[in-house]
């Protein structure tokens, strides 16, 4: 569904953000894109949306070349940026003007999501709080039923109950032919939501695998002490000793801890690479 091939991009000739990047994302999945601040998550998403043009290489999204910004492509792609803008109109007027742009938009779905998010239906959009506006945009994006839905830091501005509601609603909106890509630096917000994870750091994709595959290769456990023989890839002190990420040699079941996984990937790049080679 999304294919990046030998992608090179930089904001100027001297500072190249990505060089020869390859990435393949499949439909029917919710991907989490993780990276430190300034790692280039938003730039990568904008490249996929055709908002930035690659210096070299190709991008294919749902069979389209994003930089052409063709209507057929834009009808299949909804992009929720980090900073959102809503026109100064009522919700009904918003539906009336924005809905017809998307052939698969469902008003009933939109209203259902708004109810689930607890957004008052009769309020003017500009009178809403930032969190409410974000909920409106997320609900609308989901209700467009585009094949690709990209969200850049969607949980910024959402309160704690709304974050769990967000996870519930997004997971319910996934369809076999749909791909959802969520970028965030708040990894806990993606817990129990994503089924694939992409970690970028220093111009490189360090990890791009499904959580099932990661669970097969890595074990997330707690040890009272860490020794060299434990083959620990990453350890951090915890209440009961050390929370660790280890190679899953015994094929044991463990729940993937996204925050620990992220820390393991960025601090032990070679170790992780060797395991997933």
């Amino acid at each position: 569904m999304i294919e990046l091939t030998n992608l090179t991009f930089g904001y100027n000739q001297k500072k190249i953000l990505y060089r020869d990047l390859d990435l393949s994302l499949q439909p029917g999945s919710i991907y989490g894109l993780l990276g430190k601040n300034g790692a280039g998550k938003s730039s990568l998403l904008r490249l996929m949306g055709g908002l930035l043009y690659p210096t070299a290489g190709t991008i294919n999204v749902a069979g389209f070349t994003p930089r052409k910004r063709e209507p057929a492509f834009l009808q299949e792609m909804y992009f929720i940026p980090e900073e959102i803008y809503l026109p100064s109109v009522s919700l009904n007027r918003f539906i009336d003007t924005m809905g017809p742009f998307y052939p698969k938009f469902s008003e009933s779905q939109f209203r259902k999501y708004l109810v689930e998010f607890d957004v008052p239906p009769d309020q003017k959009l500009t009178a809403m709080s930032y969190g409410q506006k974000k909920k409106v945009i997320i609900s609308f994006g989901l209700a467009t039923n585009t094949r690709v839905l990209i969200m850049d830091e969607p949980t910024n501005g959402l309160d704690i109950p709304s974050k769990s509601q967000f996870r519930k609603i997004v997971s319910s909106a996934l369809a076999p032919e749909r791909l959802v890509l969520i970028s965030t630096h708040q990894v806990r917000d993606l817990d129990n939501l994503i089924d694939g994870i992409i970690i970028i750091d220093e111009s490189e994709i360090l990890l791009n695998h499904s959580l099932n595959h990661i669970g097969d290769r890595l074990m997330f456990s707690t040890l009272s002490s860490v020794t060299e023989a434990d083959r620990v890839l990453y350890a951090e002190p915890s209440m009961r000793g050390y929370s660790v990420v280890m190679e899953n040699l015994e094929q044991e079941d463990s729940r993937v801890d996204l925050e620990r996984l992220f820390n393991a990937v960025v601090t032990n790049r070679d170790g992780i690479k060797n395991i997933f080679r």
């Binding site: 209507p71 834009l74 792609m77 940026p81 900073e83 959102i84 003007t97």
Partner: protein, 264 residues
């Protein structure tokens, strides 16, 4: 599905544009009407005879206000893509680049009848006040003909080119496009008048008393106490007129290319 143009998508874009901006456009038109009335009414209460000088003043007012208002309006048209906050949702709207550009083009075209309506309403009010006081035998004031003899040819040309120049400016200068394009326009005007135009005139007519000119088209001077007015004719005139006319679609094309290449 046609990827370049669809009347349905263009209609949706225009509807969205008007819904978002109608209130500010109405406020702008009201402000323009108030300003014009404030400038025209004092004279309307004083004038009691028919004089063509009134038309000259109105033509100047028309030209200056049209240039100023259209420059401001054109500067705002592509403001939406000056930053990611509004630019991303706009560029991601399912419509072609051409349709989004045509949206701005049509809005700029729509500006013309609205400006004319506002100007002539204000002028009509003033002339009806003056005409009521004129003697029965006196000719009556009629609404200004903007392409008539009272409009200075150079100012007339400026009214054509200003909105398009500022539209290009709004694509080049994301911040303060009106101010920056204005500064650029004034600089270009000074360079054109003071250096290029006057330099050519000095070359062609050395040691004459030079009085004035219409840029690249006409020069007036005195020699041995006699007044001369020299203008282009034939092919040179055609070439200059063609260049001046082609500048408008050229500016549109530049704005379109810049819009197509816009990255956020």
């Amino acid at each position: 599905m046609n990827q370049t143009f669809s009347i349905n998508r263009l209609g949706l874009l225009l509807k969205l544009h008007l819904i978002e901006h109608l209130k500010s456009y109405l406020l702008g038109a009201g402000l323009l009407f108030g300003l014009l009335l404030a400038l025209l009414l004092p004279n309307a209460t004083r004038i009691s005879v028919f004089s063509t000088n009134v038309y000259q003043n109105h033509a100047l007012l028309f030209g200056v206000f049209f240039c100023g208002a259209s420059a401001w309006f054109a500067s705002e048209l592509f403001r939406v893509v000056s930053g990611p906050l509004r630019g991303i949702p706009y560029l991601m709207l399912p419509a072609s680049q051409l349709e989004k550009f045509l949206e701005a083009f049509l809005m700029l075209l729509l500006f013309v009848p609205i400006f004319l309506g506002v100007f002539y309403t204000a002028e009509g009010i003033c002339f009806s006040i003056i005409n009521a006081r004129l003697p029965a035998s006196s000719p009556r004031y009629e609404l200004l003909n903007p392409v008539g003899p009272y409009m200075d040819p150079f100012l007339g040309y400026l009214t054509y080119i200003t909105p398009f120049f500022f539209l290009v400016g709004s694509m080049y200068f994301p911040k303060l496009p009106f101010v920056k394009t204005g500064a650029l326009a004034i600089t270009l005007l000074i360079v054109t008048v003071a250096f290029v135009n006057d330099f050519i005139i000095d070359l062609l007519f050395p040691a004459r008393d030079y009085y004035g000119s219409t840029l690249f088209r006409e020069v007036n001077f005195t020699q041995d106490g006699r007044w001369y007015s020299v203008g282009l004719t034939g092919t040179p005139k055609l070439i200059i007129n063609s260049i001046l006319a082609l500048m408008i679609p050229a500016l549109w094309y530049i704005a379109y290319v810049r819009f197509k290449e816009k990255e956020l």
